[in-house]
Amino acid sequence: MAKQDKPQHTPDTGHEWDGIRELTNPPPRWWMIAFHASWIWCVVYFILYPAIPLVNDSTKGILGWTQIKEFKQAVEENEAVKAPFLQKVAAMDGQALLADDGLRNFAESSAKAIFGDYCAACHGAGGEGAQGLFPNLADDDWLYGGDIDTIIESITDGRQSNMPAHSEFLNNDELNQLTDTVVALSQGKATAEQMTQFDDVGCSNCHGMDGKGGAINDLGSGAANLTDAIWRFGSSREEIMRTIRDGVNQDPADVPNTRIAIMPAFGGKLSPEAIKMLAVKVHEFGGGK
């Protein structure tokens, strides 16, 4: 039987209150072990790791551990895992990448973060765009072409279309008539007379004689297909009229209400592999050709 179990035989501090003596029993051994282990741990930790806050800084610890180093190391490890795949991606063209099931999956997953960082702000997380402001990447209507190579080109070099502001050379009646024509075109009800005006004004130069645009026509303008159900700048008559009247990407100093539609070039910002993988992701949103 341990001696602390026999209070009569245990030494005391000499303090006694109302007959109760203060004994000098040590705490249990396991407690003392835990206590010493704790402060030893503490000292070791303080030596190894950043610990004591100073005025402008803190002690560094001899391991030199920092969160940012750990993060960078993790990033490096991740990149080492990805490297062999990225090498394959670099060696392939867009078409081949699309055809390879495994790599296409890899590209789509890898491009998710890049898309979130560089594209989603305008085009939305799922490529849905923003009505009237930024084009939808998930549908099958492409101003510049929906094949993988053209998408790569669009991302690399950017795109900036140009449509004149027709208020400069059409009066209000003519603008109204032309708007009616475009609305009729989208419904497939345009008359021959309306199409003549369409041609006379010069719309057909870019949008084609039938109004179907053309991914990249001779002018390279990326003119929209006016006969389908998709509207780059809004489908209401009012919005259509504004587009005709004020044009696209005119100098805002001259035409304050002009549509702004500028896709920046990412060629310098992103590696060719990243762009290739982004293109795959955009292609796989659902509208790729």
């Binding site: 009569q8 796989e284 509208g287």
Partner: protein, 470 residues
Amino acid sequence: MSEEKQSIEELYADAAHWHVNTGGETIHAKRVTGRFRNYKWFAGSLWLLYFIGPYFRWDGQQAIFFDIPHRQFHMFALTVWPQDIWMLSLVLILLAMTLFGVTAVAGRVWCGYFCFQTVWTDWFTWLEEKIEGNPVQRRKLDAAPWNARKIRLKLFKHTLWMLIAIVTGVTFAAYFTDVFDLWLRYLSLDAPLVAWAVLAAFVFGTYVFAGFMREQVCFWLCPYARIQSVMLDKDTILPTYDAKRGEPRGKVKGKGNESRGDCIDCQLCVGVCPTGVDIREGMQEGCIHCGMCIDACDSIMDKVNRPRGLIRYSSEKEMTGIKLPALFKRPRVIAYSSIFMLSVAGIVYGLTHIPPVELSIVHERQPLYIRMSNGEIHNKYTIKAVNKTLDDLHMRLSIDDESGVTIVGGTMDVVLQAGKMVPFSVFLTAQPENLQEKKTRIRFILENTGTPAVRLSYKSVFMSPVGKQE
């Protein structure tokens, strides 16, 4: 002495009888032979299965293999995926009910005979006895000053303990990776960090818990010890000292002390107790119900020509002369065994009904729908199909629906790779004028085009900006 002072002195005197074992003194229990000792050896030897478990092979790979990176648990012919993990909860319930049921009937059987803490401690103290001698010699050695002999004995003992601890640790780690490869990696000091961490934790735990802390773990660390104690009732049979027969205790009955009981106060029951309790003080938290005191007392009773069983497995009721009710008439036993049987039924059902393919389909939310240039509405879905079989499965995806929603291109043929889950996308399309509502309920069907016949359906929705009713 005032009256007050006297009562405090009585308190102190009282406290002298409290025995709180806080590990201040190493308990060197004497080892005896007997019935319960044999039971303990037998139960403890079942743990050898733990050590040989990882070396079984099945179908060219480790038979019992918890593959954490691939989220698969292999048990011989059986592969359990995370989707089937609900069965684990049933296994846990089953184990809990076994523990509860056994405890209600026969006390801390788990603690006394089978718990890794007490079994490993038993092995460690057995080695200690072989190396350092019996308890008297051991206490003497502990108190002796350090000399060459003491160093030699202690070093030998701790080396053997360490070896057991290391084998225990490696074995545990081996359930999570290939055992031969693991040994090779450990021996060539080339194991991954997590393997070293597991080994270190187990070596430390085994060595310290079984070598030094021993009964302190049962006293102060173990939660089971606490919950098991509250599961005892008056029908539970426990190692019990028959005070009526034993008291008043004293030297062997002879001339002049005929009124004495059968207990000769030899203290052997205390001496053999691995937790250092005195069973004669009645049921107590330190008692792990291992029955060593019964073996000890029986051997003494044989020597003094008294009937065995002064200390015996007996319930509180039996001690007062009431017969134990039959097992099936005790509410606790009925409740525990019913839950036990339900768990067994659930596990058997689960194991025989593991689906070969697990399907989950997520509707793309951003965007909810896409309007195509010809006016059609597209919805995108991500299909996640786990193929739990060992062969590639050729499946066909279709839509079971009359609302005009179809898969782009009619049906879709996919190959599910064996033992894998590769997500893929599918587009559904519909003409808006065919849709009744903005939200159309649809059902995906995933069927096997070969054998085995697999047909899964999954409910989802098709979203559109417009519907007929607008």
